[in-house]
């Protein structure tokens, strides 16, 4: 998703022609400037991921240097055979679908609303985005109290219409509750991205469509929405990557329970890695998470975001 824009090369050096003293000094400078970041990055980002791959092929409790008990792909076959892993995948799919079908359209709608000239929209924006800056722990604890069956105010309110339940302890409602909390915390973030994307659309395009007699709805559907395509695709991308590694909220709200009904891969991984000291097996789970993110990122760029290069304007022109 990173666009390596090759703008005009701003060079501090003469073009690399022949080795000269000046050029050698350039290499020293380059090394001094890049090495600190590179060393830290290799040591604490790249190496851990490589170690995770390596450890996933061993039975290992995490102690005593590198693992020695090689078991090939057994960790993976064991993982794919467990019910919990199937649940993890199902929960991932459920949350992604709910996000894309419910949360993001709501965020988009509210962004369009706040793009109108209504009084107080700055304050609305400020308030809607605020939950994003609260930590997932604060959010999680707050909602675990609100949704608790006895003292929880949320449960009382819903009780007025006969909907009271033990929202977080009932396997049938726990995913919905989790999604509700995610929406509370994150819709403001997506709203902000959409607002920024909307402001990048030249106003002339919208005005032209209005002058041509488009109703607000048709202008939105045929002009604004296609032009927001790149922004929407990025917000979907961020949501999926986030959901693959979802941990904090689940850990605080339910610890994955009741009986794994809200567990995510990251929760399963920490459960095995730290509580049961099965680091090799837990590493296999993290490799699966890595693989999922990578495959998704590459496929998404290849098949979905590629359209962004063609430009939505041409398609809009065809339609009219």
């Amino acid at each position: 998703m990173t666009t390596l824009t090759r703008g005009p090369e701003a060079t501090a050096l003469p073009a690399p022609a022949s080795p000269s003293p000046g050029r050698r000094r350039g290499w020293v400078t380059i090394a001094l400037f890049v090495l600190p970041a590179l060393v830290l990055f290799l040591l604490l980002v790249v190496a851990p991921i490589l170690i995770a791959f390596y450890a996933s092929a061993f039975k290992w409790n995490g102690f005593g240097g590198l693992p020695t008990n090689f078991i090939g792909l057994d960790n993976f076959t064991r993982l794919f055979g467990t019910e919990v892993f199937g649940d993890d995948v199902r929960h991932l799919v459920v949350l992604v679908v709910l996000t894309v079908v419910v949360q993001l359209p709501i965020s988009l709608g509210i962004a369009m609303l706040l793009n109108q000239r209504i009084r107080g929209r700055t304050l609305y924006r400020l308030v809607f985005f605020a939950p994003y800056v609260l930590s997932e722990v604060i959010t999680g604890v707050l909602f675990s109290l609100i949704l608790s069956p006895d003292a929880g105010v949320g449960n009382r309110i819903l009780g007025l219409v006969g909907l009271n339940s033990d929202w977080l302890a009932d396997p049938d409602t726990v995913m919905l509750s989790l999604f509700l909390v995610m929406t509370w915390k994150y819709f403001g973030f997506h709203m902000m991205i959409y607002l920024a994307g909307r402001q990048n659309i030249p106003e002339e395009l919208i005005e032209a469509a209005q002058i041509d007699g488009g109703t607000p709805w048709r202008v939105f559907w045929h002009v604004t929405l296609p032009l927001l395509g790149p922004t929407i695709r990025i917000s979907v991308f961020l949501s999926v990557i986030y959901t693959i590694q979802l941990f904090d909220l689940v850990w605080i709200l339910t610890q994955g329970g009741p009986s794994h009904s809200s567990e995510t891969m990251a929760v399963t991984m920490l459960e095995f890695g730290f509580k049961r000291a099965q680091v090799g097996y837990a590493s296999a789970i993290s490799v699966v998470m890595f693989g999922l993110s990578l495959v998704f990122a590459l496929a998404y760029q290849r098949f979905v975001m590629r359209r962004d290069l063609e430009g939505a304007t041409t398609r809009m022109g065809d339609r009219r």
Partner: protein
Amino acid sequence: MRRPTLPLHVIAWIVGAFILIPVVYALLGGFKSTAQLSVNPFGLPDPWVPSNYTEVFTQGSFWRQLWNSTFIALASTVLVVALSALAAFVFARFAFRGREVLFTLFTMGLMFPFAVAILPIFVLLRTFGLLDSPLGVILTQAAFGLPLTILILRGFFRSIPGEIEEAATIDGCSAFGFFWRILLPMARPALATVSVLAIVGSWNNFMLPLVVFSDESGWTLPLGIQQFQGQYSSDTARILAYLVLAMVPALGFYAIAERHLIGGLTAGATKG
């Protein structure tokens, strides 16, 4: 073409209520006793009970966690911004073989979920003796902050005209002199943006401190909140008071740095 805005306001109020009711409930709930909270969850406290809040202030643990969170956030931010600025400078303004490969290596970091690396990081930090040390959290957070910070800073450094650099070089400025005396001061808005992102990320981080700190003296606020909930699980009002006080620094910081935060996030989302 002016349409009535009342329906829009009604929708905005409903959304606002959805956001605010939980926070207001926590704020008021903190002023009730737990017994009062269960008979009177909606209304104003009667009587107002300030002891839940005042007791948090007199407990040393809240202040210690506040300090730990602050120290770790500031140290991680200084480290990641300093290292990223150096690297981004070279990526933006030097042409050399392998530059794009290196840069791509860093930006690939944006796609790695942090959770993937948490177990090996734990093992590595244990090997280096950095468990239960703030340094273990600081170094790791800085490392994972590099990709986005370098990406944003490189973009900004590139936008500074080459003529300025030529003029500085002609006047006898070294590469580092140009970086330190001209580029960094000019890049202040971008530096503010990436700093704000790093501070918020560190402040809210939970998974990493969770595995690094077993000793209470190193805990950050998120760990403290989680532990407090466990300790007083039946005393809801007391937990609400703790939560509200823990929200204050984050919301206060948001009020000050809102522009940089949103600017950085939207830039990161559209460029990343």
